[in-house]
Amino acid sequence: MRKNSLLGRIYFGLVLVILYLPIFYLVYFSFSSGKSMDHFQHFTWAHYQTLFADHRLLAIFLETLMLALLSSLIATVIGTLGAIAINEMRKPAKQRLYLSLNNILIVSPDVIIGASFLILFTALGFTLGFASVLLSHIAFSVPIVVLMVLPKLKEMDNSLIDAARDLGASGWQVFSKVLIPALTPGIMSGMFMALTYSLDDFAVTFFVTGNGFTTLSVEIYSRARQGIDLEINALSTIIFLFVMLLVGIYYFISKRQGKKAKGVGGLIK
């Protein structure tokens, strides 16, 4: 057993190293003076200084962040209502149909979604820019939110709704005081997923950005084609730390909620 677990630990460690090595490689060279990642020369903050002087890149970074927040927020509202609607459907066949339609959007390649949005927007005569990117991000985020909220709805004790009505709650009060709080963990994880999907999306965005607007992933891609600049490494390091912070916050929130909602619906142990 002990030998086994040692082997297991080595394997686990190896997997982690392989997964994180490229990122640490990037981070490592963000502190190296010189122009390339061939070998580490000496420690410097220079790339961070050029990064913070690069107002265009910082503006794109903030715009990307705003896009992600806005699209995930709107997608969360639409997706949560959608999940409730799917859950309310009486006929199982209808429910399955809508759920499959939802899942197809998740499974289908981003390239297809991006291309079809491009075709749609040009056909409608819609100018490509922030609005088109926002709309398409909302569109691919909604199914994710639906998928995260629906299990919470399924596992929720329906008598909670009856209990609220029994105590005199109106339809809106049932929704706001019982249904939404009960779904909050699912809604939060749905929003978080939508946020990360939006932040790192390249394929869809690439199709629907116009001249005026670009996101970080598209910008990095176009810069990387002209040769790697270590400024990108510095930016990646900052994003990596930012994401770690987000995960930490998410973990903290879900742990606190998990503690509170143990024994959902007041079920007995």
Partner: protein, 366 residues
């Protein structure tokens, strides 16, 4: 005073399943009622219709003489204690109990006062700030009761709310529920499949099977005078023997004629005779009304459950004293211990017949 009336209620689901057939019942204020029946008998459906969570297919629900059939659950003067308590997991004990009052925008000071009172009633003083997940099953049960009584409902509906507790706690809660009901003086309608529970707590029991009320009456009346096979078997253990009416106050079963307390049945009619196992006294073979041979014996703590054979049938006997297996024993019973049931007799016919030879009998439960 009549507070709730169900008038010719039927309930049929979309898939054609008939849950209730022509339910008529009348609930008086200030009493403890039980709806007793096996699972699938429709007892919870009746409760849901009274609470307003389900609508009857046909028929009307009256509250204080007013038709409330289509009224939303939130506007009825009833509150419910759910089977799994349905406490809101995101709120603590105080917030759960205060939920109904806060919806009505009651001033904070009044809310605090009333929550304290309600928690005191269910003996949970000092639990206000606990999370629901920190409570035991029995405590969650009490919170659910406190939450339901804080709105001062005219009727409290309880849906199998003791079934999840262990036996000792269940007994304790039975006493407490009864005490709370007496204290508040409001009507309780309690749904249960546990006949002991219903007998112990109720002023009146409705026995349900297959979507129909089989019998209603006081626990004693139902136990002593079951109207049919189903009730006799469902409430307590019983020996049910085929028999024949000889004349008024005389019935033949197990090959002999016995004096009994029933009348108003045509002589020669085939009947069923119910003998409760605890009414059978074990005596010496020569002193018994029938003699039987002991087949098996189980010790159940407070009594022995004895199976015996004799007089052409098998007998179930409860006795505080044990016997030897294979022993010949006599069984003695009084005429009042024999309960004669006519085949296919409805509750109304049964009550009418009882009236005919007992004068103003105890059957006036309406």
């Amino acid at each position: 005073m009549e507070i709730i009336k169900l008038d010719h209620i039927t309930k049929q689901y979309d898939d054609g399943f008939v849950a209730l057939r022509d339910i008529n019942l009348s609930i008086e204020s200030g009493k403890f009622y039980s709806l007793l029946g096996p699972s699938g008998s429709g007892k919870t459906t009746i409760l849901r219709i009274i609470a307003g969570f389900a609508e009857p297919s046909t028929g009307k629900v009256y509250f204080n003489g007013q038709d409330i059939t289509g009224l939303d659950a939130s506007k009825r003067h009833f509150n419910t204690v759910f089977q799994n308590y349905a406490l809101f997991p995101h709120l603590n004990v105080y917030e759960n109990v205060a939920f109904g009052l806060k919806l009505k925008r009651t001033p904070e000071a009044t809310v605090r006062e009333k929550v304290k009172d309600a928690l005191h009633t269910v003996r949970l003083d000092g639990f206000a700030n606990r999370e629901i997940s920190e409570l035991s099953g029995g405590q969650q049960q009490r919170v659910a009761i406190a939450r339901a009584i804080i709105n001062e409902p005219k009727v409290l509906l309880l849906d199998e709310c003791l079934s999840a507790l262990d036996k000792r706690l269940r007994k304790e809660m039975q006493f407490e529920l009864r005490a709370i009901q007496k204290k508040l003086g409001i009507t309780f309608i309690f749904v249960t499949h546990d006949q002991e529970e219903a007998l112990a707590m109720s002023d009146e029991i409705f026995v349900l099977n297959d979507g129909q009320i089989q019998q209603s009456g006081s626990p004693v009346a139902i136990y002593d005078e079951p109207v049919n096979d189903f009730v006799a078997r469902f409430i307590g253990d019983s020996n049910i023997l085929p028999g024949e009416m000889i004349k008024d106050f005389e019935v033949k079963f197990a090959g002999k004629n016995f004096e009994c307390a029933d009348a108003g049945i045509t002589p020669g009619e085939k009947v069923e005779v119910v003998l409760r196992p605890e009414d059978l006294d074990i005596t010496a073979p020569e002193k018994g009304k029938v003699t039987v041979q002991v087949l098996s014996q189980l010790f159940l703590g407070d009594h022995f459950e004895i199976k015996a054979t004799g007089a052409g049938t098998e007998w179930l006997i409860h006795s505080t004293n044990g016997v030897k297996i294979g022993q010949e024993i006599g069984l003695f019973f009084d005429p009042e211990d024999i309960h004669v049931m006519r085949l296919g007799e409805t509750e109304a016919e049964f009550d009418a017949r009882l009236e005919s030879y007992e004068g103003d009998g105890e059957g006036d439960d309406e």
